[in-house]
Amino acid sequence: MKKGEVTRREFLKRMGILSGGVVVYISVADPFAIAQPLRSTVPTDFNAFLRIGVDGRVTCFTGKIEMGQGIITSLAQMLADELDVPFDSIDMVMGDTDLCPWDRGTWGSMTTRFFGPILREAAAEARAVLMALAAEYLKVPLKRLVAKDGVVFDKGQTAHRVTYAQLTKGNTVERHVKKKPPLKAAAEFTVMGKSFLRKDALDKVTGKATYAGDIRLPGMLYARILRPPAHGAKLKSLDTSGAQRMKDVLVVQDSDLCAVLHKYPDEAEKALTSVKAEFDVPKTTLDDENIFDHLLKVAPEGNIVSQGGMLESGNKLAREIFKETYLNSYVAHAPIETHTAVAKVEKGKATVWASTQSPFGVKEEIAHSLGLPSRNVRVIAPFLGGGFGGKSSSMQAVEAARLAKLTGKPVHVAWTRAEEFFYDTFRPAAVVRITSGIDGSGTIVLWDYDVYFAGSDGADQFYDIPHHKEVSHGHWRSGSGYHPFGTGPWRAPGTNTNTFARESHIDIMASKTGMDPLQFRMNHLRDRKMRIVLQAAAEKFGWIPLKIPSGRGFGVACGIRSGAYVATMAEVEVNKKTGTVVVKRVVCAQDMGLSINPEGAKLQMEGCITMGLGYALTEEIRFKGGEIFDLNFDTYEIPRFSWLPKIETVLIGAEDSPPQGGGEPPIICMGAVIANAIYDAVGVRLFQLPMTAERIKQALNKVKYP
């Protein structure tokens, strides 16, 4: 058996069930790998995903984690519907590597799109098997049987019935069906497509919800770890004698890891301040102003994302050329829960509770770091206090595990807010260069697009442009060598940057032609879905076509993310003296196919819109070399109550098309829709995110497009 594989026997034993056969697990090599999971890597036995208890309650096992996105509710809906059991009878077990089937990680709005069908298929097969068992038990032909709320009964004689629990008696269902039964059609849904309140709400409003940092183990020590003042700094000298003299303080030093531990976190903090350390900080002139020039200089050759026609031909057809550069700064994930983990290592086995979006990836990292076989490591991701991509990387879990092994005691590692900012894998600073052209009739004939370091997602555009080429240089994960610190996936990676650039540029051309920006888009759109979301947004918003800038402060932007189509409209007010922007109203229309839990989907849309105000208006990491200047919420400003626009969301009914991503799409338009609204309000164009008051004031002083 290969490292990382677990027999189904062992797997089921851990679940309290014993059976034969093999479930194949594949160890994860690249925790950032975002490709969709291959069907062959997930268990084929439906028992891996669900278990019917003797009490009739159904437990759903998923390697996905709950970080606020609401899949604890929507996955339960899918299972309830396909299995024909009450929604309230389902208990979710999530992100536990010993109990749950392997999963690559929770990111990219992929749970509903890719894990959803796997779970539904498992439930549908389980239901088919239960029906067959019921036919034998009741001695009634299968075609006369109906299943509802976990009970199978005879259509003609409803009192003749048996419950799922009676059929399974809490055991694994050994039987399988040869041919996978079809999934239910939308018309048959009784749970999916209906709004359900969050399953985790009661625990979260009463303080019962457990996060990694809430785990308490006997003898547990809180660790504070020595950190360098800047990325790339090397430890020159270290004196821990002060901490060593402190009562009940444990000092640990193991190659690059120096930590002080105490049974109280605040005492550990005190001990850390007594550690004297000197670092060699590499000299560099790189900062948040000159980073863009640097990135262009070091950018690797690009990959073609999409192309059509010939740029030369487009160039010949063009009467007017528009050449612009768009920038966006480094942005932090800043979940309110910092990276946290609690680890214990006993008898060669490690158990780690971690706030991570990638429990199975972290499991391998810990096994590697501790020199343990993978099967001896169990990672459990309890509720996460936000993730947004930032907890795809979970160094804190490895730190806790290492310290637990070194001290022989359970260890609690919770990053401070400053550590959270310092070690965050930021959304990368990025550059987009666009050269476009329109012909004499105001039709776009040329689109020459290069994106640097944001990533290719969202770089390919959906307008009808005869001659276009989109090229992506570098990637959001390309950290060292390009960026002075780590970068990584940030809610809708790549697509925020690309949508800001594309939709701003479209507006620039619309303005030049004197056409209404919505009409200008429609003139170049044959994509039916995009036309529909734009029309829906316009209807809700009450969009009246006008040449821009109109002085009203209205903006429009649209895009595609994770298979979902979004169109957003906004109204802003700009204070010309101070440069401050108030976003008064945002309307967003989304086509995400079937929406499993419409109210949950709307909650995600509102969350995207609110969070997106931050990267649009204030959020950026200031730095010099590897030193980060923004280390808490005093200088790094995230959206708060006083920023709230009126938010209206529209879900396009599309029950018959497969569900698409819902955790990310509406955030992608927020940069461009506000940039376009600012332009409409005061006639200045912002080319850099965030559009701070300072940058708006500067722009007001040199108006480029009238």
Binding site: Q69, D203, K208, D214, I336, G387
Partner: protein, 160 residues
């Protein structure tokens, strides 16, 4: 310096010998194992650590434990009475006014304090009072609605 401190925590008396300078947040979470109050920033900038001291919202990461001596401390765990959820808790559930839930204890306790001072706040007053409580998931508009609902339900109803 260790000193003897006593206070009421969620209705029960607590007596402990502790360094009075230590912050209430850590004493609650660690010494007393009450984990509802969360660490978010450590500098009083996010509100995740909010608890009630004599019915007023305070930032427990900025409050030395000595200061609550002789007072009554309520955390999110102590808000429901005899298994009955407080109207704000019910309203947060009803409005889906949370996502990851990490800021939720602080939000609810801050709102409790607000409604005690001002039982029928306007939307603007709610926004002004809640502005120091950060939520990264973006549940703000539903939090405002939940507070409005709770305020309506408590009007002439249950005492706070």
């Amino acid at each position: 310096m260790k000193e003897s401190i006593h206070f009421k925590l969620n209705g029960k008396p607590v007596r402990m010998t502790v360094d009075g300078e230590r912050m209430l947040l850590w004493v609650l979470r660690t010494d007393l194992g009450v984990t509802g109050p969360k660490y978010g920033c450590g500098e009083g900038l996010c509100g995740a650590c909010t608890v009630l001291v004599d019915n007023e919202a305070v930032l427990s990461c900025q409050t030395p434990v000595r200061e609550v001596s002789g007072k009554e401390v309520i955390t999110i765990e102590g808000l429901a009475q005899n298994g009955e959820l407080y109207p704000l808790q019910k309203a947060f559930i009803k409005h889906d006014a949370l996502q990851c839930g990490f800021c939720t204890p602080g939000m609810i306790l801050k709102a409790y304090s607000l409604l005690r001072e001002n039982p029928q706040p306007t939307r603007e007053e709610i926004i002004r009072e809640m502005d120091g409580n950060l939520c990264r998931c973006g549940s703000h508009i539903r939090v405002v609605e939940a507070i409005q609902t709770a305020a309506r339900e408590m009007k002439g109803g249950r005492e706070i």
